[in-house]
């Protein structure tokens, strides 16, 4: 990649690694949460759904600020982590992963929840009468029928993590190879007046985002295949 500096490539690679890690973790953890939200009659459903949706409306800097407070050496969680003998999270890649997971949570959980709600109770009841237990019903009926929602969740979760800036700024700083992601690098280039480099990286993001959305619509089963 002749037109990208090695620092740019490093930032690009870091961004993709971050987005990939966050998306995989969010799918694994978001799946049970989305399932619970889609099926529970608990009175906690609405409060929990609101908390999940919070990052949609909250400025990323606010989220990042509170995370910095909580995870920092004097924060409640930070002290727990220190007591457990682990290194502090702020200004590390792991810290970025944790923060990005919170930031991208609704983009993964909501499509999954919608998909599970669209599958409905009927196919699960049918499967139960045919002898399938709860986990079996999830794996053999709910998940395959919810594939469009899983695709949407994956693409949105990935793309949204690639594009984050405010949270990274607050909790990650700008450490090359550790926390300097693509959006930070673009900001640096603009600050330094290097508009050409900023443009190249921005184009990269644009292309990645477009490819992601295109892939999402291509991977969705056609609307005639479902009934």
């Amino acid at each position: 990649m002749g037109f990208l500096s090695s620092q740019d490539v490093q930032a690009l690679w870091l961004t993709l690694r971050l987005a990939g890690t966050v998306t995989v973790l969010l799918l694994v953890l978001g799946m049970p949460l989305a399932w619970w939200l889609a099926h529970t009659h608990s009175r906690w459903r609405r409060p929990v759904a609101a908390v999940v949706a919070l990052p949609l409306v909250l400025p990323p800097t606010v989220l990042g600020f509170y995370l910095l407070m909580l995870l920092g050496p004097d924060g409640a969680i930070g002290r727990l982590i220190a007591a457990a003998g682990l290194s502090a999270l702020p200004f590390t890649f792991r810290g970025l992963v944790v923060a990005s997971m919170l930031y991208s949570l609704p983009f993964v959980v909501q499509p999954l929840q919608n998909a599970f709600e669209a599958v409905g109770q009927r196919p699960l009841d049918v499967a139960a009468t045919l002898g399938a237990g709860p986990l079996d019903r999830f794996a053999s009926i709910a998940l395959p029928l919810a594939v469009p929602g899983v695709v949407t969740a994956t693409v949105l979760g990935f793309a949204h993590t690639v594009g984050e800036f405010g949270v990274v700024l607050m909790i990650g700083g700008n450490i090359p190879g550790q926390t300097r992601v693509l959006s930070m690098r673009i900001y640096d280039h603009v600050q330094a007046g290097e508009y050409h480099q900023a443009n190249v990286l921005s184009l990269c993001l644009l292309v990645v985002s477009f490819a992601a959305l295109l892939a999402m619509s291509l991977l969705r089963p056609g609307r005639h295949a479902r009934d």
Binding site: L130, G131, A132, G133, D136, R137, A225
Partner: protein
Amino acid sequence: MPVTESPRGLDARLAWRRGELALDVDLALPPRGSTALFGPSGAGKTSCLRAMAGLERAAAGRVSFGDTVWQDDSHRVFVPAHRRRLGYVFQEASLFSHRSVAGNLDYGFRRAGRPAHLRRDELIDQFGVRPLLQRRVGGLSGGERQRVAMVRALLADPQLLLFDEPLSALDALARSELLGCLERLHATLAVPMVYVSHSIDEVARLADHLVLMDAGHVVAQGSLQATLTRLDLPPPLAEAVGAVIEGTVVGYDAHDQLIELDFQGGRLWLPYRHEQVGQRLRCRIGARDVTLTGAPHPDSSALNDIRCRVVAMADADHPSQCLVQLDAAGCLLLARITRRSWHALALAPGREVWAQVKAVALGA
């Protein structure tokens, strides 16, 4: 003291609320043959069936099947639906859209351990599903879907079959085709079957035992014959009352396109619908279709005269009318006539009368 217990079928005592409807049912179904849950829409038939299957968690009480307790809330026993070995056919076929027809059929069959005693190929042919095996379910017609759903349920090796109005969403042709399939199934089936319906004709052809429901309660239960000829059924079920007779086809008049049915109470002519001489046939004689006369009338257009004795009379749902229970050589019939006729003919229990039935009113 020796205890001789008759084998037990499904016993259910359950109470719950579903929206505006308060359900409270007490059912004892026989261990063999088919039971129809019949009643007007909104009577709670489907909820009742779901509760038997363990799909209605709000239903509290006790359910047992044979010697197995499926639910007993006083002892915190609840066997989930997937351990009850059911075959459940829903109102809409609810096939799995991500699987082919063969994949759908295989779903329960595989989970039941592919039992060798189930003749898979025979069932597939019996319901005419073989040409559909490789198809996707999206392209199937309503009747095809329901046939697949039935074979799928049967292949799960059920010990109890539950059918929730499986024909109600179908057009007339598909319905009569499937009804034929179900009649053959009913004749050969070893496990008990519960059939929810609001069509009295389906019930008359498929049920041995009848549970009448209205407004969330069981109004009456017993054998099909005895229950449908009761005089004390509530008004919403008034249209359903009438005898169901079963007999053998003994004659076919090709010229007039009629068949003759020999039953306990006599002989009846009815329209020919491709029956074979010698086959067993059920026929419903609605109470509205019976006219009473003091003597047989050879010059009447009604083809059938059945000699009966009046058993009892009761009020019908309209003050001008009454229901007359008749005994035709041990076979109960029901006639709905005006009170004016009752008095004009000087009818009374024990009187001999002739029940006239138009052949055109007969046949499924």
